[in-house]
C-alpha cells in the first residue's frame, strides 16, 4: 500500500512536471524561434506583449484556444481526432528517460535510448493519420511524403547513435553520461555528431527538411485542415520533438549534464538550447530540399557515412 501510494505520487508529480516543462519549453522555443529568425533577418521580432515580446506566445496560445475546432465534412472523424493525440503522447513518453541532472530523472530504464527512438517513430504514424483523415489532397501529399522519407533519415539516426552505444556499451542514458566524465563523445565522434544533427533536423520535420509541411508547395502539408488547439498540439509536438532530439544529442555527444561551476540542470539546458539554436539557424538559412533529394541524401550520403563511422568505431574499440 505504502509502495503504491508513493508510486502514484511519483507518477502524478512526474506527469505534472513533464506537462509543465513541455508547455513552458514550447512557449519559450516559439518566442526564441521568432527572435532568432527576426534578428537573422535584421528585424526585432515581437516587442509589444511583455518584455521584448516574451508573453507573445501566451497571447497566441490564448487566441488558438479561443478558435473554432473545424472538422472537414468528409473527414474520417475518429482518425482526424486521434492524430494530434498520437502525435503528442509519444513525445511525452520520451521524457520518462531523459536525465536532466544526476537526480532529476523519472525512470532510469536500461533501454532508455531505445525507448526514445521507438516512440519518436510514431510521429510518422500521426502525420499519416492526420494527412489521410483530413480528406484534403495537400494533406495527403504531405503525409505520403512523410512516410516515404522516414527510412532515409531514421536509419542513419539509429546507426550514428549506435556508434556511441558500442563505445559506451550501454543503452542506459545515465551510463552514457557517466562515460563522458572527462572527455565528451563529440571529440571521439565528430562525424557522428554532425550526422546526428542533420538526421535529427529531418526527424523533427524542420527546414530544410520540412517537406511534409512545405508551406510554399503544400500550403501547410499534413495539418492544413487543423485549426485551433488541434493545430496548436501539432505545433507543441514539433517544438517538444526538437527538445527531445537535442536532449538526446546532448546526452550522446555533449556529456549530458556535466560541466564546471554551474549546476547540472543548467548545463543540460544550456547544451540543449544551444543545439536548438543550431537547428533554428539552419531553418532560417537554407532553402527546402525536394523530397527525392532528401531520400538521395539519406541513402547515398548519410547511411554510407554512418555505416563507415560505425565500422571505424568498432575497429577502434577492438584495437585499443
Amino acid at each position: 500500500m505504502q509502495f503504491l501510494l508513493a508510486e502514484g505520487a511519483r507518477i502524478g508529480i512526474s506527469l505534472i512536471g513533464v506537462i509543465g516543462l513541455v508547455s513552458i519549453n514550447a512557449l519559450f522555443l516559439i518566442w526564441m524561434e521568432r527572435k532568432v529568425s527576426a534578428h537573422i533577418q535584421l528585424r526585432p521580432g515581437p516587442m509589444e506583449v511583455g518584455f521584448h515580446g516574451a508573453l507573445q506566445t501566451i497571447a497566441d496560445a490564448l487566441k488558438l484556444i479561443g478558435k473554432e475546432l473545424i472538422t472537414p465534412e468528409d473527414a474520417d472523424k475518429l482518425i482526424y481526432l486521434l492524430a494530434p493525440i498520437v502525435m503528442f503522447l509519444p513525445v511525452l513518453v520520451s521524457f520518462i528517460v531523459i536525465p536532466f541532472s544526476p537526480t532529476l530523472l523519472i525512470r532510469d530504464l536500461n533501454v532508455g535510448i531505445l525507448l526514445i527512438f521507438a516512440f519518436s517513430t510514431m510521429a510518422v504514424l500521426a502525420i499519416l493519420m492526420a494527412g489521410w483523415s483530413s480528406n484534403n489532397k495537400y494533406s495527403l501529399l504531405g503525409a505520403i511524403r512523410s512516410v516515404a522519407q522516414t527510412i532515409a533519415y531514421e536509419i542513419p539516426l539509429l546507426i550514428t547513435a549506435m556508434s556511441v552505444i558500442i563505445m559506451v556499451g550501454s543503452l542506459k542514458l545515465t551510463d552514457i553520461v557517466a562515460y563522458q566524465a572527462t572527455v565528451w563523445n563529440v571529440l571521439f565522434q565528430p562525424l557522428a555528431f554532425i550526422l546526428f544533427i542533420i538526421c535529427g533536423t529531418a526527424e523533427t520535420n524542420r527546414a530544410p527538411f520540412d517537406i511534409p509541411e512545405a508551406e510554399s508547395e503544400l500550403v501547410a502539408g499534413f495539418h492544413t485542415e487543423y485549426s485551433g488547439m488541434r493545430f496548436a498540439i501539432f505545433f507543441l509536438a514539433e517544438y517538444t520533438n526538437m527538445f527531445i532530439v537535442s536532449a538526446v544529442a546532448t546526452v550522446l555527444f555533449l556529456g549530458g549534464w556535466r560541466g564546471p561551476i554551474l549546476p547540472p540542470l543548467v548545463w543540460f539546458l544550456l547544451k540543449v538550447y544551444a543545439i536548438i539554436f543550431l537547428m533554428m539557424w539552419f531553418r532560417w538559412t537554407f532553402p527546402r530540399l525536394r523530397f527525392d533529394q532528401l531520400i538521395t541524401l539519406g541513402w547515398k550520403i548519410l547511411i554510407p557515412l554512418s555505416l563507415a563511422n560505425l565500422i571505424l568505431t568498432a575497429l577502434a574499440i577492438k584495437i585499443f
Binding site: V36, I40, Q41, L42, P44, W281, F282, T285
Partner: protein
C-alpha cells in the same frame, strides 16, 4: 566516385558558408522602423491627399473654382463649388471636397491647377473606420491650418440667394 566525394564536400562547405552569412547578419543591428513608436518624415514629394497652399500675401487659398482639377481627375475624386465674389469678376471656392477612397494618387490635379492653389499634404495616417472618414473637406482643413498659424480664418463667400449660381461638376467626363 572521387567526383561524388568532392561534390559532397563542396556542397557541405557551401552550407557552412551560408550559415556564416546568416550569423553575421544575426549580430548586426536591426534596420526596421518600429512604426507607432518611431515615425518617419515623409519625403518632400510624398503624395498624401491634396490641400490648399496658404498664399503668403492673402493668408488664404488661391482656388478660383475653375474645376480643372475635377475635370482632369480620372476617378471623380474632387467636387468643387464656387460663387462669384461680390464686387469682383472672380469666382471663389465655397466647398472643396475629396472622396479620398477613390483617389489613385496620380497627382494630375496638382499639375493642372492654373492658380497653383493645390499641394500634397504629408498626412499618411489615413486609415478610418468608415467610408465617411475618407471624405476630406479641404476648406475645413485649411481653416484649421490657419487657426494653427494664427491667421484669420477663410470665410467662404456666401452665394447670394437670388442669383446663386452654384454649379457642381463631377469631373471625369473629359469633354465638357
Amino acid at each position: 566516385m572521387t567526383a561524388f566525394i568532392k561534390d559532397t564536400l563542396i556542397g557541405f562547405w557551401s552550407l557552412l558558408a551560408g550559415l556564416g552569412v546568416t550569423i553575421r547578419y544575426f549580430v548586426k543591428p536591426i534596420v526596421t522602423v518600429q512604426y507607432p513608436r518611431e515615425k518617419l518624415t515623409m519625403s518632400p514629394r510624398y503624395r498624401g491627399h491634396t490641400e490648399f497652399i496658404i498664399d503668403p500675401e492673402t493668408g488664404s487659398h488661391l482656388c478660383n473654382a475653375c474645376e480643372n482639377c475635377a475635370r482632369t481627375c480620372p476617378s471623380n475624386v474632387i467636387s468643387v463649388t464656387g460663387v462669384k465674389v461680390a464686387g469682383t469678376k472672380k469666382k471663389r471656392a465655397v466647398t472643396y471636397v475629396l472622396d479620398y477612397s477613390l483617389c489613385s494618387l496620380c497627382g494630375l490635379c496638382v499639375e493642372v491647377c492654373p492658380t497653383k492653389a493645390l499641394k500634397f499634404s504629408d498626412e499618411y495616417r489615413l486609415a478610418g473606420f468608415s467610408r465617411q472618414d475618407m471624405i476630406i473637406d479641404v476648406i475645413a482643413r485649411l481653416q484649421a491650418q490657419q487657426r494653427a498659424l494664427g491667421l484669420p480664418e477663410e470665410v467662404p463667400p456666401v452665394p447670394e440667394a437670388e442669383e446663386a449660381k452654384t454649379e457642381e461638376t463631377k469631373g471625369g467626363e473629359g469633354e465638357s
